[in-house]
Amino acid sequence: MTSPASTDFVPPQFSAGPRPAQGPAADEGLARRLRALACTAPLHDLDVRKANLAGEYSVYSMAEVALAAIDLVTLTMDFDTGADHDQIVARLMPRVAAQTSHRPAAEHERVARWVLENLINVGSVDRGFRAVYGTFGPDGVYTRRDYDFKLIEEVPGYGGAVYLRTTDEAVNVLVGALDTDVTSAQIAAEVKLEVLISRGRLADAQLAAEQARYRTVQYAETLRRTLEATRRNVRAVDWLETVPDMIAEALDHVADRYRHENAILMNIRKARDEATDPEHKRRAAELVDIVKDCIRRHTQLQSRLLEAGPLFRAEQDRQAFAPPAARAGLDLYGQLLAPLLPLPVEQATRVTEAYFARGAGLRTPASVRLGDLVDLLLTPPVEREHLGAEMPEPDLIATPDDSRFSEEQLAGAMELLDLEHDAPRRLSGLLAEARKRDPELPYLVALLAVHAASPPVGTAYRQGEQRLLFAVDDGTELDDPEFGGADLIVGTALLDAAGMAADRKDSA
């Protein structure tokens, strides 16, 4: 391809012309593996280059931090947005800190930032990596080639924010399944998970579930791109058959996965509840979270699919039902942009230059008058208000007190329920006493007693309360003209405040 003759004629679109047969299949496979290998190079490179950083950073395992960063970005990647830069750094910090707990947090943050920036490769203009490898062409000539790739790329989000996304290369390297089909890999992962769970091997099950989730994320990404593309060009898609088929197929798929993953979820929940080994229990709980996340992502996919239909119809109305134009114009995409992109950049630049020279319009040359310049330079800068505009006095409206019970009633009820710790009482007695004071009071007492049936032990513990109201049902039925249900035994429990305080200090 380096001979000048071959660049003489380039087929107009997508260079679909006849091509010489490819080199030996082995060489192609080698090229593929070389590219896969190249994707891991930036990670190794981090550990090599950490010695060059000002400071003693060789204790950090940079490749580990980098892989964790790729994990984090992949898992926080959503449909519209990617991961937030600062959020990733913040979530990387614990891992960095765990490597050298005695170093200051500022250093940990610096390491996390350094790793993330190097994964984006902030220093280069493409913000990517390049690896050079060589292949033998079909004619036996050895050619060196550049392979450009990215691991984490920055994409625009809503409101001009910049988000991070992992590229397919990174996901593939991370999952370790290079050159595989997405669908089959996902199904394989899920079948594996089910088998593993039925045999009770949870450690492996978690690994499989995580792989399934990576696959799900990759899936969502693929679909997002497709929908974006179809939104842009209504006419590019066959709305009569292909798109409805595609949407139906995708919805079927989501329903299928949903069923599948719910079944898995139920199984693991059972495994979680029945497990006696705390380690198993913890792992099963983690697994539940992962599968829940998978289901959430599928649901998101589904809502996207449902939005596609109305969007197409609206675009159809706008574009297809307009009166036809009298004359045909130039097809900018089909006749200019599309044939231009496959050309060698040297030739393509000639076309874009010609377009720019005629298409950029005109600029009136600026000329500076000395008088204006002097005025401009001597004008004092405009003083800016430090405090800004004066705040208007807010107009406050008192909201009417629509509480069911008054403060006095609450005080009365609390007084009634302020029981000695060794003398619990039945609810029926309390109600009768309350009725004597105020006909409304029994309602409040009953409400408080029912609440006491599930006493806020955790809150009382955290706040260091000394007493706690509780209610117990011993099976006796309540005999009351206004209320039904159980005749609760209401009492006050004394809490060991000092012991709890000591306990809290220990755990903190």
Binding site: T183, I187, G329, L340
Partner: protein, 303 residues
């Protein structure tokens, strides 16, 4: 603009019929006075302010009417424009005096003035030019849109980037399908396929001052649309998706009558002959190989 004389003559007849009872016809074909020359130059100077709308300025509107009704004045204004190195695209109430710079005119925009990096880096030079072409391609997606005077295109910065990236991705998939190795030879960067330059460049990037990264593709497109907005070719309508814009009549004229043809001529010169039957090319190819649902980008939902 060869049909100008007959066009304007027709107009001036109509005007004369309408206004003959109340005003004497202007001295068509008579001696040109310095006042006429001043008015013609004034009209051209209005044309040099592309963001100025004729409807907003009474003097501009009057001069436009005179151009359309008075053949001699029209020829005078055309001559002034030509003398300044300008090309007259259209003179109408909607577009005003739409003039653009001739090739070697002092008003012409040079790539090296437009983007400083472009002078040194051939990739940047290409990307800046491509950005302008892509903006036009997305603003006028169908041939009808470019031909229809009433059409208003709407674009966003991120939309343009996504659209070009999609086209690049299709080429990448096409190449992959054919088993081509598109990685360029290290010693011949000029032979690298154009789409690879774009695909390789990062779409955006974080900067210290929260501005758009100038070297990223959205940065380059953002610069292009900003420049076009300053030229009165686009009007900013919002901030979503990197900034949204709508096209003006002037932009359509510029693309249709100047830039499209020039780029097309260059492309033909390179031996590439794109054939069109006048319909939009963004249709799925007949053999069922749906471009939008190309392998990898499509839905792998074949369970």
């Amino acid at each position: 603009m060869s049909d100008h004389p007959s066009h304007t003559a027709e107009r001036s007849d109509a005007w004369r019929e309408a206004d003959a009872p109340e005003a004497a016809p202007p001295a068509t074909g008579g001696a040109v006075t310095p006042a006429d020359a001043a008015d013609a130059a004034r009209l051209v100077s209005f044309g040099l302010q592309p963001k100025l709308l004729p409807a907003r300025d009474a003097e501009y509107t009057d001069l436009l009417r005179r151009y359309r009704e008075d053949g001699a004045f029209a020829r005078l204004a055309d001559a002034v424009a030509t003398g300044l190195g300008l090309v007259v695209l259209e003179v109408s109430p909607r577009a005003g005096m739409a003039v653009t710079a001739g090739e070697d005119s002092v008003f012409a925009v040079r790539m090296s003035d437009y983007a400083r990096r472009a002078a040194a880096d051939s990739a940047d030079r290409f990307l800046h030019g491509l950005a302008h072409l892509a903006v036009a391609a997305l603003a006028f997606p169908r041939p009808e849109d470019l031909a229809d005077d009433g059409y208003i295109g709407r674009i966003t910065v991120n939309g343009v980037d996504a659209f070009v990236r999609q086209a690049c991705r299709r080429l990448e998939e096409r190449a992959e399908q054919q088993g081509e190795n598109t990685d360029p030879a290290s010693d011949a960067p000029g032979l690298e396929a154009a789409w690879r330059i774009y695909a390789r460049r990062s779409a955006t990037g974080a900067t210290k001052d929260a501005r758009r990264l100038a070297g990223s593709t959205t940065g380059i497109i953002g610069k292009a649309v900003g420049f076009l907005a300053d030229s009165g070719f686009l009007q900013r309508t919002g901030d979503d998706a990197g900034g949204s814009y709508r096209t003006t009549a002037r932009y359509q004229l510029q693309v249709r009558d100047m830039a499209g043809g020039a780029a097309m001529a260059e492309l033909l010169d390179l031996g590439v002959v794109p054939v069109s039957d006048g319909s939009a090319t963004l249709l799925p190819p007949p053999e069922g190989d749906d471009l939008e649902l190309a392998p990898g980008a499509g839905l792998p939902f074949h369970t």
